[in-house]
């Protein structure tokens, strides 16, 4: 999976699936400075994931201020061939003044076991990286 640099930030395409529905988000930020993974409320609504009265509530505090998000879970999240089932995500407004549909945080990178190869601008599974090392 290719990483695109836009406005000097690394973006990828992510596929989200819930039941029969699936969407591809082209503007998802790779964000190792974020502990969690978040998607915009408008995109999640396309999958039928919407705020519900008793969702867990969170206040995310970071550089530049704080924001309100709702804790959710998604059935499938995939970065190219790397797919993770039943992954906890945050639903947020994600209105940062530039086009962004979501961000993948450190929780996703660890659970999916990915290598962020910024020299080649590629993301690939760590298992693939080990096979390459053994083969060389």
């Amino acid at each position: 999976m290719k990483i695109r640099i836009e406005d000097r930030l690394p973006f990828v395409a992510v596929t989200l699936g819930q039941g029969e529905r699936e969407i591809v988000l082209e503007h998802v930020l790779l964000d190792t400075g974020s502990a969690g993974t978040m998607f915009s409320v408008d995109e999640l609504a396309k999958l039928g994931i919407v705020p519900e009265p008793n969702d867990a509530l969170r206040r995310v505090v970071g550089v530049g201020g704080s924001e309100f998000v709702v804790a959710k879970k998604i059935e499938r999240i995939a970065l190219g061939e790397i797919e993770v089932p039943e992954f906890p995500i945050q639903m947020g407004a994600m209105d940062y003044g530039f086009p962004i549909q979501g961000l993948l945080g450190t929780d996703f990178f660890i659970r999916a076991g990915v290598v962020l190869d910024l020299a080649r601008l590629e993301v690939y599974p760590s298992s693939l990286s080990r096979r390459q090392e053994r083969g060389s």
């Binding site: 409320v41 609504a45 995310v60 003044g97």
Partner: protein
């Protein structure tokens, strides 16, 4: 207003609220006093209302809440990534 009073006044509704008084304690945000800013027909509309006001006034502490909720627990987490400013 206290949450129980808001629940009585706005039953079974999605609200955009603002914390007038709140404190952080042991990883939780305790909302001591809330003001109701707007009501909405559904949760997505309420989140979009949040988004619009948060953009204009990022320093205000806003929450989207449904009054069927009895427990007002808000977990506070710290991330370093981009945040709306």
């Amino acid at each position: 207003m206290q949450w129980e009073e808001i629940r009585d006044r706005y039953p079974h509704q999605w609200l955009l609220t603002e914390a007038i008084a709140a404190r952080s304690e042991k990883g939780e945000r305790i909302l001591e006093d809330l003001a109701v800013l707007e009501t909405y027909p559904d949760g997505v509309a309420a989140m979009n209302g949040y988004s619009a006001l948060h953009r204009r006034a990022p320093q205000r502490e806003l929450y989207v809440l449904h009054t069927d909720r009895s427990n007002l627990k808000v977990t506070e987490v710290h991330w370093l990534g981009i945040r709306a400013a």
